[in-house]
Amino acid sequence: MSSSVKWYWFASPQTFYPLAGRIALACAVGAAALAAAGLYVSFFVAPTDAQQGDAYRIIFIHVAAAWMSMFLYVVMAFWAAIGLAFNTRLSAMMASAIAPTGAMFTFVALWTGALWGRPTWGAYWVWDARLTSELILLFLYLGFMALQAAIDDRRRADRAGALLAIVGVVNVPIIYYSVQWWNTLHQGASVSLTRAPSMATTMLTGMLLMALAFWLYSIAAALVRVRCIIRERE
């Protein structure tokens, strides 16, 4: 079997179903191991911050959750667009399977941000561009899920949800660049691909371990959910 044929082979929900189960199990185990390592580094290896004290330890999960919230939205919109363009059942199912996990991480990013902002800025919430656009991201996830739940016809629900997801993707660069485009209370990125991170190595290690753990968790959760959707629909 050539590689291109294999690709189409796994585009069918029935053949993808057992593969998804195996990947989900491996990712769940990896997520648990990385989370344990990440928590250890976050609390026992990374030193107390000179300016923020121990309140900064919230950042390990806050940044990881915020990254996932944006990344998962792009992946969800990607699958929704593929499903809309090529009418492939599994793509639309993947988009539906990712949405609740993305919404959960968006909520976690907002919640941990509020609990970090109170001791550091003196406010749980401010209407600055970064926080507001992240709140809009939560509403986009919830809107996508509510829209799909409200339409009985499965194919129409997939198409309507896909349109919402694709239009909403414009919000992701707004979130990411909001700290540059506007004068926000939220600080700029401490970690970027183009320059050295402006933080201590142990702190960066803790953050990356938590981000990888959340990443693997998201894959596992989305695949378990897509297996449920396949069972429910097929």
Binding site: D54, T112, E232
Partner: protein, 49 residues
Amino acid sequence: MNWGSWAEFWAMGGYGFYVWGSYGVTAAAIAAEVWALARRTRRSREAAP
């Protein structure tokens, strides 16, 4: 090692409420999703064996 005792660990330098409020709610959110997924898996298996 950052902490001299368990009491110091839980106090988080006076930021215990914020740090544990963050980690606790994050753990609860993930646990809730895992629980919901387990329930959905069980129900969809029962409906379509």
